[in-house]
Subunit: 251 residues, 2 copies
């Protein structure tokens, strides 16, 4: 199952019932891998088990993480679900188009995942900034708040409907067999490296603006689907630029 | 709302949570009229109100009946949801085809409704016999038991998607009127600036490899559709990084 469907990542889920119902919805539609970031009531969770109603193997294999960054560290393509337009320069798609894109990437042997936010207010901008692509559902604008497990269900439904159709699945040959998208971990190291140097240089000031500056810099590079080779090149550039004027070996 | 969407009829619902979640799902997708046949815990139901999470007008207008026959007495076209094939000579459709049929009938001013069965085992054959048409969902056959509210949700989703309001968001980066793609000239200045610094730093060596190195660096940034703001940010980064270790104002 590992690489045949997107990983589902629930960020700060509050209610065990919702986790269990999400697992049940995943089982209904052939999704297998569930990850949790900081479930409020800890893990394992008895209410989740009751609500899963016989989807136990998904719950047994749940992985729990302390942060979104860790939960998606091994993924190459990350989608964030969102109910509202965000002031982010990222592509946005509905579930059908998103499913097609995910199928294509999985066909190219990429590891993918979808972030779902906490019940009351979804994902923070910082969390959504981790994503390559935003997923939004066509929902009545006068009552647009979807229950968490139902948001998972709707994705699963579209995913399964598309898989079931068989012929519609876009197989696709990898564009660059020798070039794989960087993993999230490689990107995070790159960002941390860049931000460390920019902190030293006093670029990320004043402090109250640092978070939004960091976010917009990260978004520039997220949009570009960097390969592992790209990341090596960019890190070489940073080392090179910061070393020049030091007159020595630098870092 | 009366005749603009099918009535949702829950038969013998056991859990108030499911009634409330079904009402919420209806509100998410523009369905308005909910009827209950013999809700186990009576009506009104506080757990339903909590779970409806702000879809109160649907719950306030719920009608309660003693039998399926009474609940559908005023309807002209009735659909029964079912998870399994039944030994009945009735047409069966998936949710998309069912939605199209319902739209057609509502367009002809017919009053329509959909029956959903009790949580554990759905509708009896006698109850399903009331229907003109069976509705079934494409679900993983190895785990086909859908939660009641999620079955309502999936119909609502297809219903709303087929409506004028419910079109899927098209892919692509949303327009940000204040963010324009960088001009080619801005890009060229940026590249020249970067390459000048990299030449100084000795990064673009040996000389015979310089053209291909420059090309791959430019390609990283070409792929990303930089905005004018992005280019200013990136140039600021270069200035900042090269100035740090110079100990002065730099360039």
């Amino acid at each position: 199952m590992t690489n045949s469907a997107p990983v589902i990542v629930l960020v700060d889920p509050q209610l065990g019932e919702n986790i269990g119902m999400a697992a049940r919805a995943m089982a209904n539609f052939g999704l297998g891998e569930l990850r949790l970031v900081n479930p409020r009531d800890g893990w394992p969770n008895e209410r989740a088990e009751v609500a899963a109603s016989g989807a136990p193997d998904i719950l047994e294999n749940v992985q729990v993480f302390d942060s979104v960054a860790e939960a998606i560290g091994d993924l190459q393509y990350v989608v964030a679900t969102t109910a509202r337009a965000r002031d982010m320069v990222k592509p946005v798609s509905g579930p059908k188009a998103m499913t097609a894109e995910l199928q294509k990437r999985i066909g190219n042997d990429q590891k993918t995942g979808i972030l779902f936010g906490r019940e009351k207010w979804g994902l923070t901008n910082d969390e959504a900034a981790h994503a390559d692509h935003l997923l939004t559902y066509p929902v009545n604008p006068e009552f647009s708040s979807l229950n968490l497990s139902q948001a998972v269900l709707l994705f699963g439904y579209e995913w399964y409907s598309a898989s079931d159709a068989g012929g519609e699945v876009e197989g696709g040959v990898p564009d660059h067999p020798d070039r794989q998208p960087a993993t999230r971990q490689e990107l995070v190291y790159f960002f941390e490296h860049l931000e460390e140097e920019l902190d030293k240089a006093g670029f990320l000031r004043p402090p109250e603006k640092r978070p939004s500056m960091v976010r917009s810099i990260r978004n520039i590079f997220h949009r570009t689907e960097l390969t592992d080779q790209d990341v090596r090149t960019l890190r070489g550039i940073i080392v090179s630029l910061t070393r020049t004027f030091a007159g020595g070996e630098g870092r």
